[in-house]
């Protein structure tokens, strides 16, 4: 069991009503690995993360995490098993203060290294603004809060959906600079990115989605720019 991958997504088909968003998508995440999923708008990247997190159920195919099937588990049960999602657009709770947003991330009460003081050490600016409403934070700070909120559940696998979206490049660089500190404890990471350079730098393994199918996959250092553009744009 020790050798089995942490996450095994096996040929899943995911639908929004009659519209099929994912076609037989498979993905593997080993323990401690950083995996990037890239692709154009509407390629199905967010849908893949939502399916893993349990917000959507695949109609066909399976998802195994830590050896157990989770493809029919609802999101609130999946987070208790150790998968946390930083949703696209951050989606902080506007009625809650910064600290309450972080605390509610720890609602599932999984044991582990991530505690409120540790989040504040990682992102000191959140500590200064802990009593403000989450809406009073800048975009970059909101992203830090969303990442901190997900970490509070002490996940084995962290899913990050477009954490660079709408942020200034310098802020994106700052946030990515914290990734080693986050995965240092053996946590695995799946990042969905439109910023390909950023994704290739951070990840060991890269999957490229195109119109709901895996168009390319491989180790980040093996992939050529041409192969990526071909998979990205389908030309």
């Amino acid at each position: 069991m020790r050798d089995a991958p942490l996450l095994q997504v096996d040929a899943i088909d995911v639908f929004y009503g009659d519209f099929q968003a994912l076609f037989g998508v498979s993905l593997t995440v080993e323990r401690g690995q950083v995996v990037a999923v890239i692709g154009a708008n509407g390629a199905g990247k967010s849908t893949l993360l939502r399916a893993i997190a349990g917000l959507m159920q695949p109609r066909r195919g399976g998802i195994h995490f830590n050896g157990a099937a989770i493809d029919n588990a609802p999101a609130f049960a999946v987070v208790k098993r150790g998968i946390a999602l930083v949703p696209e657009g951050r989606r902080l709770f506007p009625s809650l203060s910064v600290e309450e947003n972080l605390r509610i991330g720890g609602q599932s009460a999984r044991p582990g290294p991530w505690t409120l003081p540790r989040i504040y050490k990682l992102f000191p600016v959140l500590s200064e603004r802990r009593h403000l409403p989450a809406t009073a934070l800048s975009g970059g700070q909101q992203q830090m809060c969303a990442i901190g909120r997900a970490l509070m559940s002490n996940p084995d696998l962290l899913l990050c959906d477009e954490i660079s979206l709408g942020l200034a490049p310098i802020i994106v660089r700052d946030i990515y600079a914290q990734l080693p500190a986050i995965v240092g404890d053996g946590m695995s990471l799946v990042i969905v990115e439109q910023d390909i350079a950023q994704a290739l730098k951070a990840a060991a393994q890269v999957y490229c989605l195109q119109e709901g199918r895996i168009a390319l996959q491989g180790a980040a250092h093996d992939l050529t720019r041409d192969a990526i553009s071909a998979a990205y744009f389908g030309v």
Binding site: P74, F76, F93, P94, S95, I104, G105, Q107, S108, R149
Partner: protein, 289 residues
């Protein structure tokens, strides 16, 4: 002069009861955007549950709260889990229709079980005790208890909403149910807890209503209107605003009744409509979000 002071005082005290009608209504709408048309009938149901408890166990009405409150909370949890959760979605209409149907079912069920006769809970000496607090100004013990309980209920809800993890779960689920699930919150359970809390407040309101005046199976919808009016006057999303809304409604009705007994309800409705026209967001709306 003292006559009018008495009238206003009575209005303030009855306002506490209206605030309790309103608090459960506003809590449910706040957490899950559900407009509970059966709210008034659930208040009447609580009154009948209290009637059964007091008659079979020989308890006085205020002591019966110890049983009626948990009983209504359990009914609320089950109602939400088994029925109302299925109606929630992007469309506001299904829960509205289902609670409207529930209202009719409760009224007719009570009519079958208890007939249309007027009932009243007897609280004994508490009902008639009064204190003179100034020259010509009298305060009844029961209305006073009722008002103090109402303030305590509002304060408790306020603390629960802003100081506890359950309150945090309520606010988060209200903001964004799908992200709340990502936090490990089962929204079906959170909604059911909100309904349980709402019906716990309904139970208190129902018992005080039943001690204060006669009740029969048909009086629910009018209590619903009072609750709605207090919520709108106070402004959605603010618990203390809801208390103020109840008091304003109570005082308006009392003043109306003093001018002419037929104007009691009309005066309340007019004040409500004026506030709705002049300040549609209510007098004390929630500041942010």
């Amino acid at each position: 002069m003292t006559e009018w002071l008495n009238v206003i005082l009575q209005g303030v005290l009855i306002g506490g009861l209206y605030a309790m009608f309103a608090a459960g209504l506003s809590l449910i709408f706040g957490v899950m955007r559900l407009v509970n048309i059966a709210h008034g009938d659930l208040i009447v149901l609580a009154a009948y549950v209290a009637l059964m408890v007091t008659q079979t166990l020989g308890l006085d009405p205020l002591t019966s709260l110890l049983l009626v409150v948990p009983a209504m909370a359990i009914i609320g949890y089950a109602l939400q889990r088994l029925l109302l959760n299925r109606t929630l979605g992007d469309d506001l209409l299904p829960p509205l229709l289902v609670t409207f149907g529930l209202s009719i079912i409760i009224q007719n069920g009570l009519l079958e079980l208890f007939t249309a006769d007027s009932r009243k809970l007897q609280a004994g000496a508490v009902e008639t005790m009064t204190y003179q607090i100034g020259p010509g100004i009298w305060l009844g013990l029961l209305p006073l208890i009722q008002f103090v309980v109402a303030v305590a209920v509002i304060a408790a809800l306020q603390v629960l909403f802003y100081r506890t993890s359950l309150g945090r779960a309520f606010r988060a689920t209200s903001d964004d149910p799908s992200v709340a699930q990502l936090m490990g919150l089962d929204t079906r359970h959170v909604f059911a807890m909100a309904m349980a809390l709402s019906l716990a407040v309904v139970a208190i309101a129902g018992v005080f209503l039943a001690v204060r005046s006669n009740f029969d199976p048909a009086i629910g919808p009018a209590r619903l209107i009072f609750g709605f009016e207090a919520v709108i006057i106070g402004g959605l999303g603010s618990m203390w605003g809801t208390l103020a809304g109840g008091v304003i409604l109570g005082v308006s009705q009392a003043i109306g009744a003093q001018i002419d007994p037929g104007w009691q309800l009309l005066a309340g409705h007019i004040v409500f409509l004026v506030i709705l026209a002049v300040r549609p967001q209510g007098l004390f709306p929630k500041v942010s979000g």
